[in-house]
């Protein structure tokens, strides 16, 4: 359904993505792991054209494009078929929870207001915010804000949802509520690409784990394979470190 090939992206002289390939089928839950600075965020941002990669191709259903030359029209089409959930939520501060969700429907897709309201409420209900329609982001907790962010992303029925560390800005006690929402989405058959450091989520939910290091995909496979028997020493080292941290954190 979605395939990117040979993605290259530099900031100045700094090459961050050095030829990344990623293939996603309908219903896949891809979890991307990797050390800080390995280019995970940059990859997601390139897929949504929030960053312009200078090399590589993208196939999204019937759309075939080069990152470098993608037209405004193609970018718009791709954005309309994807959802993006940000680490810092990036909600519209001047809009209520409901308006945050309807904006992409009424303005970008010209959905009539009544239908948009109904769809937005349904999305907010799915993330457990039926009682918060008219709250402004500043009146919501971090976990609630991120759930609005997820509702905003799913309300447009995207074919794939990109998550960039959706829980890492949250207080530990709020992480669970967001992960539960994401698990429910996964059960309902959503296609998701998730960058996260939540190993439990990766183990339970991922259909495939992709490990990135220094701008390349080092290895990928079923969570069991990657966690039990990583082939690449960089994966092994990363897992050892992060699982030890998790362990220390839990005591």
């Amino acid at each position: 359904m979605l395939e990117v090939r040979n993605v290259h992206k530099s900031f100045g002289d700094n090459e961050i993505l050095k030829g990344v390939d990623l293939k996603v089928e309908k219903g896949d839950i891809i979890v991307i792991l990797g050390p800080s600075g390995s280019g995970k965020t940059t990859l997601l941002r390139c897929i949504n054209f929030l960053e312009r990669a200078e090399k590589g191709t993208m196939d999204f259903d019937d759309i075939h494009t080069e990152f470098k030359t993608a037209s405004r029209h193609q970018i718009n089409a791709i954005r309309k078929r994807t959802g993006f959930v940000f680490q810092n939520y990036n909600l519209f501060a001047n809009k209520t929870a409901l308006q945050n969700v309807t904006e992409g429907l009424t303005v970008a897709r010209k959905v009539p207001k009544q239908e948009a309201d109904a769809r937005a409420k349904e999305a907010l209900d799915r993330v457990g915010l039926s009682d918060r329609y008219d709250y402004y982001p500043s009146q919501l907790s971090g976990g609630q804000q991120q759930r609005v962010g997820i509702a905003r992303a799913i309300a447009v029925n995207p074919e794939v949802i990109l998550f960039d560390e959706p829980t890492s800005a949250l207080d530990p006690e709020l992480v669970g509520e967001v992960l539960n929402v994401m698990k429910a989405l996964a059960r309902d058959g959503a296609t998701m690409i998730v960058v996260t450091h939540e190993m439990g989520f990766a183990q339970d939910v991922a259909s495939r784990v992709v490990f990135m290091s220094e701008g390349t995909v080092v290895e990928q496979g079923a969570p069991k394979e990657i966690f039990r028997a990583p082939k690449d020493p960089r994966t092994a080292q990363f897992l050892r470190r992060i699982l030890r941290d998790d362990y220390e954190y839990s005591i």
């Binding site: 929030l50 954005r79 940000f86 990036n90 904006e103 970008a108 500043s138 962010g149």
Partner: protein, 237 residues
Amino acid sequence: MHINTEFMAETFLASLGGIPVTLEITLVTLLISVPPAFFMALARQRRKGIGSRLASAYVSFIRGTPVVLQILFLYSLLPSLLNYLFTQVMSLQVNVFKWNTILYAFIVFSLNTTAVLSEVFRSALSTVEHGQMEGALSVGLSRRQAYARIILPQALVSALPNICNATVNLLKSTSLAFMMTVQDITAIAKVRAAYGYNYIEAYLVVLVVYILLCTVVQLLFKAVERYLSSYKKLIAA
């Protein structure tokens, strides 16, 4: 010292007649200045490119020179420059020396206010996190839609106090329009004072009139601010 209260009352009434001119200069200047100031702010926000550098040079130039000097300079320069432009370059039959001098006031104050407002807008735009633009793009809004619906409404709320400041400062500096022989509040009072040498009384009256005007402007802005920032007010409640 004898204060001529009768003269003051008469001057007060007479100078009220100058209020429309003062307000006209203020409003027209604001209307002319807002669009270029906005685009300069956008250019400067990008931080690179020729537009950004030109804009910042312009702002430094205007800020680094006294308004009085700008008025003296432009008022001496503009008429002959425009005359040359129209009659020599474009061969038009225009007599710029017959223009209402208020036009020069519009030009001078607009050049100044554009620079001031571009700074106001720039700092207001920077108060809205860039993430909201990306959030808007990610749900399919165009950049223009994102500015119109998400970024600018918030920037406007945070800009209002500074826009109010700029407006009050502009309103006060329009009193310098008398240097261009525009008949505003100050000019009217000055002329009347000259008859009987009642300068102190005349200036007292003018002070009061400006205080009243500025107070009204500030109250208006407060009301607009309260209306626009409903999403912030809710937080405080």
